[in-house]
Symmetry: C2
Subunit: 416 residues, 2 copies
């Protein structure tokens, strides 16, 4: 592939990142109550004022990561918005429940009153993600401790005792492992251990090893299939739940594993990540008729029961872009760059909105935009900018460019 | 419209009902554990053994209603299957929870162990529906009492104290009324009060009046829009939840109200049911480009956040067929028969499967089958046969035919 093509990718990706940041800075901030509106129509108008905690935490994280690592986003406006988001989260997200004050709401009213609590770990995880990254920007030690304490609680729920989540134990409900859980924890382990000293790093190292082992349990059928749900001891589960595949999720797990291998230097794991979590799910998840990645598949070819199974969502394509570029950066195997190009072409043809900026999120199988909003209950300022930022950085690296750096003295601000 | 056309409708509907009954009798029975498999692929194979309680109760009801009222379905095979379904429900559905032993599971394993419990009333309602109808066939007084006691519990949860359902009360969760709840209760009121004497009939009469009043609260914007969710005192709710419309649901509410008016003779309510719950939602919910009823709409024209909003599902079309034929039978207004024909043409062109029998359930906006199974977690032996049975009966009535009757002495069998 020519350097020129790679330069074209980089330029377009950089422009899309700028447009995406502009869109959310312009439309999502709530000057009255803090936090972010996430239900934004095609042109940015707020069509629902509910504040989804997953998306609040993710936007705080993304703003801080941009502020902390990219000079052109190192602005007061982004910093202040991130702080207002963090303040909103700390003030309102934790709502108690059966396990003391640790459960976070799933969504809040505009002024921060809890509307719904999920009996899972994800609101809490995105709370950790946002607050830890914000504490790195502001130097707020108290916020960092808050994030670490919540992480301890999450690890406790996952590894020791899930009763605090409030789910009833039912005799027919076979305990199972959803791949989302170790993926989420591995993401947090990487977040929380970055640059931290021995006791903290060691603690998270053990959790990280557990996560990798758990993710690998989802590789089934002699390494030929990644299954979303397996039994707690790594066997296939019966029925639809056991046969479910989510290609975008497998691809995301693939680059999480690759990131992990770059830290720990594990050649076998790198090969598995690329072959089984990236190349395999990409080829089996790609729609040969219309292009794009299916949302869900059934490993035995039954029809999935999810009504949206054949739709093309933005985020699996974001994960595929990151996964293939990272796999190429690790190995320089040209066929990985070919796959990146295939995903790139589909993605940039279908998802970006030339008229109002940002990306559409939901296409029919045939590639028609069917939900035209830019933000919704599950689409916020996260997958698109994370993908674009990572791809921009990786292309810089592949092209041998020096990445711009935020000056050291600006990286950590004291709150005083 | 010519009598010939009506005869054609009737003949096709009768054939489809026979094919649908054949399909479920052939493929859904579980001789080992009782109850019904509901996850049936296009050709009837079981692709998941989970037993969904909504669908168990509905299939018991439908079998018994066919057995009790239609001579050609008055067979031992159907009676025995209904009894086996009822026995499975009584043995396994009630699983306790925070309110004693009243909560029913949402789904069970093949052998009856609880997998999931919803914090709503619907599993319990379909339990009531199935058992009451079965008790009418078998003369099982104990089963009838069981159904009535569960109904009392459901009414208690809905009208007095929902805490037994296990939902936490959250400060930002504005108490709201979902139209599904009074619709479901009105359906049960009609089921339980059929042919019952004064004390029972009077009790249910009061509940029925409450349901009608509650359903009418969902008529908003000067009678121009039916909204799925309103506040408990009948005001519009903010955001997506408040703007949500479900045309098929409004049409179903329409014929529930019409049935109620035939019992109580309420001309104003008949006019409202036809104009506001049937004609209005039909015209605003019909897709002008591709035909068929949208699954969801936003009353202000925003994009709904449900990924499946633009899909064409089988059941709204079933409800529309029943609603327009019933409205025509009540009024003999020819334009109602024109609407019936419009729905009929779309429905019979798209949903029945000429190859394997029964109906597909899920089409894209453009009318392509996108989930090809015949039964799934929410599609069982209910909407299709209920619609076909009711339409066959109404066409007989419109055509002035005598309906075949099951001989009186066969209607109630003693268990002895």
């Amino acid at each position: 592939m020519s350097v020129q093509r790679l330069e074209q990718f980089r330029e377009r990706i950089r422009q899309e990142l700028d447009r995406t940041v502009d869109f959310w800075v312009k439309h999502s901030h709530d000057p009255e109550h803090g936090g972010f509106f996430t239900c934004l129509s095609r042109d940015g108008r707020v069509y629902d004022e509910l504040k989804y905690v997953w998306l609040q935490g993710r936007q705080v994280w993304m703003y801080c990561r941009l502020y902390r690592t990219v000079p052109r986003f190192h602005t007061e406006e982004i910093l202040e918005a991130a702080k207002a988001g963090g303040a909103f989260l700390r003030k309102h997200a934790r709502v108690g429940g059966s396990s003391g004050l640790w459960k976070c709401a799933f969504c809040l009213t505009r002024d921060g009153r809890a509307v719904k609590i999920q009996r899972t770990i994800f609101s809490e995880c995105f709370y950790v993600l946002g607050l830890d990254e914000l504490s790195r920007v502001t130097g707020d030690r108290d916020m960092q401790v808050e994030a670490e304490q919540m992480m301890e609680k999450v690890v406790h729920w996952v590894q020791e005792d899930p009763s605090g989540l409030g789910r009833p134990q039912l005799p027919g409900d076979t305990p199972s492992s959803s791949m989302a859980v170790p993926m989420m924890l591995l993401c947090l382990v990487q977040q929380l251990s970055e640059g931290r000293g021995p006791p903290t790093a060691l603690k998270y190292q053990r959790v990280g090893q557990w996560c990798v082992q758990q993710i690998l349990m989802h590789l089934q059928r002699g390494g030929m299939a990644v299954l979303e749900n397996v039994s707690v001891d790594g066997a296939e589960l019966q029925g639809c739940q056991g046969r479910l595949q989510n290609p975008g999720h497998a691809l995301e797990a693939g680059w999480f594993l690759l990131q992990y291998t770059s830290q720990w230097g594990l050649q076998d794991l790198q090969d598995t990540a690329i072959r089984s979590f990236i190349e395999g799910p990409f080829h089996s998840g790609w729609d040969p008729d219309h292009g794009g990645l299916f949302y869900f598949r059934d490993v035995d070819g039954h029809c999935p029961t999810q009504l949206e199974w054949s739709m093309k969502l933005w985020w699996p394509h974001c994960e595929a872009l990151v996964a293939f570029l990272m796999a190429y950066a690790h190995t320089r195997r040209p066929e990985l760059l070919e796959c990146f190009t295939q995903v790139y072409d589909y993605t940039f043809k279908h998802f970006p909105d030339a008229q109002s900026g940002e990306w559409f999120g939901y296409l029919t199988q045939e590639g028609k935009v069917v939900l035209d909003f830019k933000g919704g209950p599950f689409k916020g300022f996260f997958h698109v900018p994370r993908c674009l930022l990572m791809c921009e950085n990786m292309l810089d690296q592949i092209l041998g460019r020096d990445q711009d750096q935020v000056p050291d003295q600006d990286q950590v601000k004291s709150q005083n």
